[in-house]
Amino acid sequence: MKDIREDIAWAKINRDVLVSLENPRKLYWVIVFGALSLFSVGLGCEIYQYQVGMGVANLNNPNVWGLYIATFIFWIGMSHSGTLLSAILHLMHADWRKPIYRFAEAMTTFSLMTAGLFVMVHIGRLWQFYYALPYPNDRGTWPNFQSPLLWDAMAIFTYLSSSVLFLYVGMIPDLAICRDNLHKGWRKKLYTLLALGWEGTDRQWRNFRVTYLTIACFLIPLAVSVHSIVASDFAMSQQPGWHVTSFPPYFVAGALYSGCAAIITLFIILRYVFRFEDYMTKSILKKTVRLTFAIAMVWTYLNAVEFAAVWYGHDMDAKAVLIQKATGPFAPFWWGMVFCGSVVPLMLAFKRFQTNIPVLFAVSLLLNLGMWLERWMIVAPTFSHGYYPWVWDNDQWPSLIQWGMVMGSFGWFTLLFMVFCKVFPSVSMYEVKEMVYHRSLHLKKNETAGQGAH
């Protein structure tokens, strides 16, 4: 089984990808419509909450953070695998990433945008959001740079803008292809503008290569730092169940895990919707699946380390939180997390499932369900069983407003993603050509070597 056919003509690559900009399957419109309706639900919930107050989310003291923060971490986490595919695998010269990294990178950008929304809907006074920005003003006030939330804002801003730049720079040669091949209209104007007059000259390519590599080198430590900082929101606090040293690596592993699972889901959807069977091949899917399996096991290990550290650590409050997670009102969700996050991925170890698309689709959704539950189980139980006995067993079930906004965020993400894939080439044309070119060269070399042996 080959990652890609070497005899695929370059002109056909252009044609096949460009057709995705104009003519997807009907399912595309069904997905867009579904996403739009989900997003409207979330938008309605936010308008209601904005008008009436945060109370409609059914939060209280001590349960001041609800699904918003849990889902925020979920989306931040999902963004990480785009960087994994585009930057880490780029540095490792794993060229099978080439047909799939573009949409993974887009996923990074849009899941960060979705995560940003949760910061907004979470805060009590959205209209004063700008207080958290460090801007000079005549009152001489500044935000509190000591707060992990501010590090979060800074890290997410850096990550989002760097990812957008990385995505854009990597797309310039493809935008030039779009510019050269599409009919007149607003799209042609858009591509002409964005392609910046790219013509593939030697000077352009030379600088392009160095720049792309440089940004890739920056993105890797950046991605690690972003989720470490999100973990610091918890690890830097004093609460039992949060104040855990191993949180940053654990969060990073969880982030890569949920991101890889999401890549499998989107891979399968795009492959069908845009007829990318020649480029998003089963062989590449298999490699992604194996990567996901490896990360799943890393995550499982770090999870076990965290529990073991708490269990043997003689921090009685943290231990009480852990016991409450496993036996208290959150038990079904906590065990659901263990099942979806650590048991379900074992299926990926079997060769027969590694290319079975319906199975993989279901498994990848389950994995992400598990990872969402994980984030919820990090946030919620500590509130209902913290240090202070007065707040114990104060369970608060999130209201429909919260659930509506969680659903809405999936709609928002899907909408942005699907629009992107329709407007911009979601398979990198020039890099697929490179992949085909290098593989055919390799093949030719082997053939001549074989002939020489005769």
């Binding site: 979470h122 805060i123 009590g124 606090s237 608060q396």
Partner: protein, 284 residues
């Protein structure tokens, strides 16, 4: 120029609080609460509601846990060593502990909660954006969030009740965090009067609303650095030190016979409220 400012006053900027070489001067507001004297009557809580314009949220929101009692009376039914269960619960009045190294302060993204020069943990309502991180990181869970816009809510604050509001205290709109301030409006008024007369606030000159309302005088409040104040004398008699995570007296084998203790001291927030342990068994 900020960089030159930074370099010139470097040691000052690296100085941190609380430390012994730069104590609070002339004020450090602190409290001590004698749990033995507390009868759980809730008068302190009611006085607090009246003094600080706290919204009474109503039955339904109370059931959702969205009540705003800055001063709350907690009830505990210990399940062991309890000889008279028919006499009911033990009581613990709980409010913001005005920690010297408050966990809530460092995490606020906009710096809406800070440490003041007179040793309070301040809350700036119009700076707060409502991220609720302070409450998440508060070990005592004594911060209360305005889940609804109470000032405009007729069921919470009927129009005719507006004349009942305390004009010295702002009314908080939706989306901001609030908590016990040690009746900062009274403290500021007393400090300003005293300053005008060229002296510091004398013992007994200023009282918090809860202290004033307490029928058994369980609450004493005052300036901890003033050797004449009752609070100072109590803290000293109980050998409770501010800047430690374990009191010297508790390090002795067998512990101490003294009643003074601070809640969750080992987390190192350095709370400014000392509790005096209950000695009698019965509730009344």
């Amino acid at each position: 120029m900020s960089v030159s400012n930074l370099l010139e006053n470097w040691s000052q900027f690296r100085h941190f609080h609380p430390v012994d070489d730069k104590p609070h001067d002339p004020y450090k507001w602190a409290m001590s609460i004698d749990i033995d004297a507390c009868s759980g009557c809730n008068a302190c809580s009611v006085a607090c509601y009246a003094e600080n314009n706290i919204p009474v949220v109503g039955k339904e929101r109370f059931q959702h846990g969205q009540q705003m009692h800055w001063m709350r009376i907690e009830r505990y039914w210990p399940d062991h060593d309890f000889d008279f269960p028919e006499q009911g619960a033990e009581f613990l009045p709980m409010m913001c502990q005005q920690c010297e190294a408050a966990p809530c302060e460092t995490v606020c993204p906009v710096g809406a909660t800070n440490h003041t020069a007179d040793g309070l943990n301040s809350q700036i309502y119009n700076r707060c954006i409502g991220s609720r991180y302070c409450s998440a990181n508060c070990p005592f869970k004594v911060r209360y969030f305005n889940w609804y816009d109470y000032p405009t809510d007729e069921t919470v604050w009927p129009a005719e009740m507006n004349r009942q509001l305390n004009p010295d205290v702002s009314v908080r709109g939706k989306g901001v965090m609030e908590k016990c301030t040690f009746c900062v409006q009274r403290l500021r008024a007393a400090e300003v009067t005293a300053k005008g007369e060229g002296r510091i606030v004398r013992e007994g000159e200023v009282q918090t609303a809860c202290q004033q309302a307490c029928p058994t005088s369980a609450i004493s409040f005052g300036n901890l650095v003033d050797p004449e104040s009752r609070v100072h004398k109590q803290w000293q008699a109980q050998q409770v030190e501010m800047n430690v995570d374990e009191q010297e007296k508790d390090k002795e084998p067998g512990g101490s016979h003294l009643r003074g203790y601070r809640i969750l001291e080992e987390l190192r927030p350095y709370p400014s409220v000392m509790y005096l342990e209950r000695v009698r068994e019965s509730a009344i």
